[in-house]
């Protein structure tokens, strides 16, 4: 079995509000899977169904080849977007309590907590109350609680919110390390930079429907639109170059640096074939760069959501 989680035609509505309509997903094992979508798209509802907090009206969810059942909870770790801890409880007691709720024994939980507290260099927090900690500190505790029981599937909902850049990086490294160890990870966010960095697969949900899903690199390939960035070292007048090119190619924007005789521009080609423009360019000067532009996840996100809206 190569999928950690498979959803088949999952729908859920609350009263008249449809939260998910006929969502099907296949999340491969040992990868980071981006669950993307604007606010209110239905991501949290889907995650809650995976966590068995709520249940689908129709459709089925399979976890590691089996129909999702209560005992799977112990092998799933969930870091919710809206998260908190008991304010007046001590850190140590609290993490032990939450770990035991996930099914760890007290001694095992203590052993693992020691490892994580040393790893994050927060050993001296054990007897502090949560209300004495900063938001970022509390987030670290929550991250530890999420991963402590070594789940097969980890679900992170906006994991970097509340972290400064340094600690966000640290958490990112930890997520990658967990993936290396064989954990499958669902990563829900609307921050596209982190998607580019982390996710191999994505799915995009908008207004309760799945708009697209698949390998991020494949999606990007599909969204390429033959736009090239070109840099040309030339003695010639920019306007005359533009004129000579505009006849056969569509130039989207350009910039001429007089001092260095550098002419940069983007061009939209009618097809993947580049031989035509290259031969033309070589007559005009020296090409110092020629690069196909790949759409960012952000572009794909915005474009897909927009086109859906029309």
């Amino acid at each position: 079995m190569s999928h950690i989680l498979v959803a088949e035609g999952v729908s859920k509505s609350f009263g008249n509000h449809v939260a998910l309509s006929n969502i099907s997903l296949e999340i491969p094992k040992n990868c980071i899977y981006g669950l993307l979508g604007p606010n209110g798209a239905g991501k949290t509802t889907l995650i809650r169904i995976i966590n068995q907090i709520s249940f689908p009206d129709t459709g089925k969810v399979f976890f590691d080849g089996e129909l999702l059942a209560p005992h799977h909870i112990a092998t799933i770790g969930y870091l919710p977007e809206e998260r908190g801890l008991y304010k007046s409880m001590k850190v140590g007691e609290q993490v032990l309590y939450l770990a035991q709720l996930k099914g760890l024994s007290k001694t095992e939980a203590k052993k693992r907590l020691k490892y994580w507290f040393e790893r994050f260099e927060i050993g001296d927090w054990w007897n502090k109350k949560i209300q004495e900690l900063s938001k970022g500190m509390a987030q670290k505790i929550q991250f530890i609680v999420t991963v402590l029981h070594e789940p097969k599937l980890l679900i992170f909902d906006e994991p970097f919110s509340g972290f400064d850049p340094i600690n966000a990086n640290k958490i990112k490294d930890e997520i990658l390390a967990l993936k290396e160890k064989g954990t499958s990870i669902i990563f829900s966010t609307h921050r596209m930079e982190s998607v580019e960095e982390l996710c191999e697969y994505i799915t995009l949900i908008h207004e309760s429907e799945k708009l697209l899903d698949g390998k991020l690199s494949d999606i990007k390939k599909a969204y390429k639109n033959n736009v090239f960035d070109i840099g040309l070292q030339t003695e010639e007048n920019a306007e005359s170059i533009l004129k000579s090119l505009n006849g056969s190619f569509q130039i989207t924007h350009s910039n001429y640096n007089l001092k260095e005789n550098q002419f940069d521009f983007s061009v939209q080609l009618p097809s993947k074939d580049t031989s035509n423009i290259l031969s033309k360019l070589s007559t005009l000067g020296n090409i110092n760069h020629f690069k196909e532009t790949v759409p960012s996840a952000n572009d794909i996100f915005i474009e897909t959501v927009k086109s859906k809206g029309q």
């Binding site: 609350f14 009263g15 809650r48 966590n51 068995q52 907090i53 909870i73 799933i76 969930y78 919710p80 977007e81 809206e82 998260r83 908190g84 801890l85 008991y86 304010k87 007046s88 409880m89 309590y97 939450l98 035991q100 709720l101 996930k102 929550q142 609680v145």
Partner: protein, 443 residues
């Protein structure tokens, strides 16, 4: 199951370790006693005011009827006219002036007599004066029918009805008062517990919601487990507090008995003797204190403590699951008001019904009805129970029925509350209406 145990443990410790719990446990009995002493003191001060009443008596009657008592003293005016007497009363700042004119018959005198005061006369003063007139008039009328003053005195003798149960047990009036007092105290205690500890449950749910820990926990445990664990943990904390109170109260009682030099063995033997109807009135040697103490030990104390625990737990479970559902439905405490009032209503009703109806007639239809109805039975039944179970007390079938009804209601209410709770804990930012809560039941 072990998850439920973990939750109960956490909730219990969170409550018991709380500073306010410790303070409340040890301070509130002191406050309570202090309050009783204060009320007794204030009542004393209030009653000790002595009122002076001037009497202008122009008639030949009532020459020695108005005698000063603890609370009223009479000053007799002679040879003054009414106007001067009034001036004098005012200038001496007496409480009032009683004017009795001179007429040719007592009936006429009584009709013309009047009592002047600065503002409305206090009830007991006019009552006292009226009683003097009534007495005098009655004697006069009877005399005219041929009854001599001596005969009148025998007619007027007070009568005390001798009361007893069929078993021959003396039904001393003091015992009824003691029953009412103890029953009332237990009923009141239950109401306070439900309101206070139900409030704890509600605040604890709101805290989990606002701190968003609920989102973290809810992926590991079922909402129902969490709600039940919270309710049970808090109720155990409540029982702990109650146990501490019972323990320290009995300790205090023993100390008091030792200090007052009351022998428990003697009391026990007295207790045995009360079944003999001839021996039951307090003998002059017994102090009043001993008498009350004896009456106290005559109550079915063990039954009371056990049934308090049973009714407290069941009543509390019902009410606190409602409180938990309310906590889950709202975002902050200020939004809870509209939902709390309907919960407190049956509790208040139970207390009032108890005080006004159950004490007078512990086994009448109203008392029976309210002690079976599950939302009021924890309080009302406890007010009836000092009379014991079985003959002369609460029939056993009523006790059993009321407990069974409580259990059924508990299951139904918990089921409903859990549904609201399950939806509510993950809803933010909306102040729900009753209609929405009803919709949540169907999710």
């Amino acid at each position: 199951m072990s998850k439920l145990k973990l939750i109960i443990k956490r909730e219990y410790l969170a409550k018991v370790r709380n500073k306010s719990f410790v303070i409340m446990t040890f301070l509130s009995p002191i406050l309570m006693v202090g309050m009783i002493v204060l009320i007794a003191f204030l009542t004393e001060v209030n009653d000790s005011e002595k009122r002076v009443i001037a009497v202008l008596n122009e008639s030949e009657y009532f020459s020695n009827e108005f005698n000063s008592t603890e609370s009223i003293s009479y000053v007799k005016y002679r040879d003054l006219n009414l106007e001067k007497a009034m001036d004098s009363t005012l200038s001496m700042s007496y409480y009032g002036l009683l004017y009795i004119p001179n007429e040719n018959s007592l009936e006429k005198i009584a009709k013309q007599a009047s009592f002047y005061t600065q503002d409305n006369a206090v009830g007991y003063v006019t009552e006292r004066i009226e009683r003097v007139f009534e007495n005098r008039l009655r004697r006069d009328r009877l005399q005219r029918l041929g009854v001599s003053p001596e005969e009148f005195a025998t007619i007027e003798k007070d009568f005390d009805l001798h009361t007893s149960t069929f078993k021959g047990e003396e039904n001393i009036k003091g015992l009824n008062m003691m029953k009412a007092f103890v029953g009332g105290a237990f009923g009141y205690l239950i109401m306070m517990f439900i309101i206070i500890y139900g409030g704890f449950v509600m605040r604890s749910v709101i805290e989990e919601k606002t701190s968003r820990i609920i989102e973290v926990i809810i992926s590991s445990v079922k909402p129902f487990q969490l709600m039940l664990g919270k309710i049970i943990g808090t109720s155990l904390a409540g029982l702990t507090q109650f146990a501490i109170w019972i323990f320290s109260a009995s300790l205090l009682l023993v100390v008091a008995l030792l200090l007052l030099d009351i022998d428990l063995d003697v009391m026990a033997s007295n207790h045995a003797l009360t079944s003999n109807p001839m021996m039951s009135m307090p003998t002059p040697q017994e102090s009043e204190m001993e008498f009350w103490a004896k009456e106290f030990f005559n109550l079915p104390l063990l039954l009371l403590v056990i049934s308090f625990a049973v009714y407290f737990v069941l009543g509390y479970l019902i009410y606190s699951s409602i409180y938990a559902a309310i906590g889950a439905a709202v975002d902050n405490e200020t939004d809870t008001q509209q939902f709390i009032f309907p919960i407190i209503l049956p509790l208040m009703l139970a207390i009032y019904v108890g005080f006004f109806s159950v004490f007078n007639n512990p086994h009448g239809p109203i008392a029976v009805g309210f002690s079976l109805f599950p939302l009021t039975s924890p309080i009302v039944m406890l007010m009836r129970l000092p009379g014991g179970i079985g003959e002369g007390g609460v029939p056993l079938w009523q006790l059993v029925t009321s407990i069974l009804l409580l259990i059924i209601t508990f299951l139904a209410i918990v089921w409903l509350a859990a549904k609201i709770y399950r939806v509510g804990i993950l809803m933010y930012g909306k102040k729900p209406t009753y209609r929405e809560l009803f919709k949540w039941l169907k999710y």
